[in-house]
Symmetry: C2
């Protein structure tokens, strides 16, 4: 193929390569069609959702030479970039030389036919990134991950890797997976119970459900930190909203009170969505057309509206006063359901909503207690379509109040002595929140099932690939 | 404290805030000293390694007001920024108003005294980020993580989240942790063996040792991908170089052959180290002075030298011809030890080295086989001080050759059918490598123990915090 470097389809289609240039393209054949005189090869290399059209003059290329050019085959193609007479594409390539790098048997290739269901594609997660849909989703996933790092880096936050394997299950955010090196066929016992002293870490360990507690340790030294790592729930939830393994972003900021925490959450979400609108237009347009006509409207709805902020108690009054028929009844003291959250966002305020000051009994032990004795400085950010997207709070910085709450809730002090000590030694007001990355991806892509926004989803009875 | 916003110490010291301004600082007291007339408070807020000096005129502040200002206490201090008469600091703050946000009992605060050993600090990992050393290490760790994402994003790579929980252990990179929801006190059995059908995923699962195999799936669709996530080894290694939980970066690129893979690795490492030199000077200078006088020289050694590239076979000849006394004898066919690698880098070539084309029997099954039948297209990047920092290869893209090797090595085909299929459907040459993030951090910080470059290290008998 000579000495020229490969050109990415993205660069060729964007005008970064001059018409008239020699180009070398490598990628996977999406379709080949044509007539007696000419063959049209649609090539995709993953750099952009669009294919480039390669035109082979059949006077120059024999049937034999193009035989291996079938859907799914990998080819290298050299040619001249020319303006395209066809609609919808600025340029195409006049083929000069072609090599089939990897053939693809049309009889057995699972992506041969068009219009596969998302369910079927989940079963071939090793091949689905080759489809338009999953190419778009995973490029968007990359863009959002990068935007998250850029947002925090630009503001001087420190990215903190909190542990995945943990010896504590204090947060109680959900059922945990056990991590062990013991022989499960022959578990060592002591006094009738598992002898974890013989285990790798010398005690029982689990996969983390949240990096927040360790994140707070970082914030109380480095000021502003964030985590971005995998978290786990061993809940037997076979829904479109739950994964056993998912990624979470948890910023934690010393000296921030609830107001600044809300500002940070609102700035953060708007930044991410604006970043997607600015950087991922072709992928968003495809998903909007293909799956969800309201997608772009919903994204603009978030960036163009100030989030409405109000206490949970007021929200409950609004919901009770509404004439809306809800499946679940609203009562002060109970957690709001997605239907209530969406009513507030989509019908009542017509903008994203941040609810604050929830009843303490439905929130975690570490949230700062209000003077009313009933509520805590929690905040949930509610979005159209999905309801809660962020949950956070100001943290209880008083050692005595925190310890009292820990005892009330029966959390073993010996598991979180290190957490309690941050309140003993130079405590400070501080706040943070958690954003489930796949929840964000559902919102940004408009996809309906959380298993379709992570490359290799883990859920009950499924850990393939 | 009125309505002014908090200033970060970094901004105040860097000249971003004008002398004469009112400033509000919040952070942790490192020291308080003084005389009858004046108290000097050294305050750190984690934004930079340097403290800011706050000067309290004792005519304006009573002993009572400053009583709580002890080492480790958290304070808010308002005052005027003035040019400092003292050496080594451009500015200081004349205190106007002070509030102790969190006291810190000098009798019980573990960081009270100076000069703690790194061993002791490891036992209080919840507090060690408040020290100069760990502030520097974790800010550098952040900078390197961000630089990694920026490097790949700028080149159009897609960040791919490969799974943490895996049903396959095909790569065989090391001993694995089991992940289960079975009751260990009462493991369900079937035909005398653990009944994993009752387990969460319906089969035995482990924590990943590498995201490479799934990374290849991404590359064969999206072209250029990278992973950056936690990986695990359940090996009972109590050394300064091993962790049970560590982070790894694994780029994988379609159409790259070994030459381009080496170019990518060299560009990548030079970019990261240049980024540290450009963005982390105060932290690097501290670590250089405090721990490792050669640190900056070693970093510059890497960015200023073209990496020497040669085959393993030639390296063995060089080592055998050298008059050096090695602890381990060098023979063709055996893996090189750190002493050999360092000899090549530090003594023989005096530049970083990339060795290629290793004996196939000491390398993984997926590496591309050379025509000699004895070697594979592997590459290891060797660095001064630490030896191997990157390991990678061109991958075997031939289905038949790969399958033959899989069978030779006894790898169960049913565990990696999805991996094999990438060679069946549109295969292509492709290459990648792995960089252990903590190995990089050892190199960049000059720290001697890998447990000191990750916030909460996991190793045998230790999963605290």
């Amino acid at each position: 193929m000579g000495n020229i470097q490969r050109n990415k389809v993205k660069d060729v289609l964007s005008g970064a390569v001059a018409v008239g240039s020699d180009v070398l393209l490598k990628g996977w054949v999406r379709t080949k069609r044509g007539n007696k005189h000419v063959a049209f090869i649609a090539l995709n290399d993953g750099s952009i959702i669009h294919n480039i059209q390669i035109v082979a003059d059949l006077q120059s290329f024999s049937e034999e030479q193009l035989k291996g050019v079938t859907t799914g085959a990998c080819i290298a193609a050299k040619g001249k970039l020319v303006a395209s007479p066809a609609q919808g594409q600025p340029v195409e390539v006049q083929l000069v030389e072609i090599e089939v790098l990897g053939e693809c048997d049309p009889e057995t290739y699972p992506l041969q036919k068009k219009g596969h269901s998302l369910e079927f594609l989940r079963e071939i997660a090793h091949l689905r990134p080759r489809t338009n849909t999953f190419g778009a989703v995973f490029r968007l996933r990359h863009a959002m991950a990068f935007a998250i790092h850029k947002f925090y880096n630009d503001r001087g936050f420190v990215y903190l890797h909190t542990p995945i394997i943990t010896g504590s299950d204090a947060e109680g955010a959900g059922a945990m997976f056990k991590v062990t090196t013991l022989d499960l066929n022959n578990v060592p016992k002591k006094d009738g119970h598992v002898d974890h002293e013989q285990d790798f870490f010398g005690k029982a360990t689990n996969l983390t459900v949240s990096g927040q507690l360790e994140g707070e340790l970082g914030a109380m030294a480095l000021g502003e930190v964030y985590t971005f790592g995998p978290t786990f729930r061993a809940e037997n939830s076979n829904t479109t909203r739950h994964l056993a393994e998912f990624w979470m972003i948890e910023p934690e900021v010393a000296f921030n009170e609830l107001q600044e925490n809300m500002d940070l959450a609102e700035d953060f979400l708007k930044y991410l969505i604006q970043y997607a609108l600015d950087n991922c237009a072709p992928d968003l347009e495809f998903l909007c057309n293909q799956y969800d006509k309201e997608l772009l409207n919903r994204l603009n709805f978030v960036v163009n509206n100030a989030f409405q902020r109000l206490p949970y108690t007021e929200a409950v009054e609004i919901l009770k006063a509404s004439k809306q028929k809800f499946e679940y009844k609203v009562e002060w003291g109970t957690d709001l359901q997605s239907e209530h959250e969406r009513y507030l966002v989509e019908k009542h305020f017509e903008k994203p909503v941040i609810l604050t000051d929830y009843p303490k009994d439905i929130k975690a032990f570490y949230m700062k207690q209000n003077a009313d004795g009933k509520t805590v400085r929690a905040m949930d950010v509610l979005f159209p379509g999905i309801g809660e997207i962020i949950g956070g709070s100001q943290r209880e910085e008083s050692y005595d109040k925190l310890l009292t709450r820990v005892k009330e809730m029966g959390i073993p002090e010996e598991e979180i002595w290190w957490y309690l000590e941050t309140r003993k030694f130079g405590t400070a007001p501080h706040s943070g929140f958690g954003l489930g990355f796949e929840r964000l991806m559902l919102f940004v892509t408009g996809m309906g099932n959380i298993r379709d926004v992570i490359p290799f989803p883990r859920f009950p009875k499924s850990a393939d690939f």
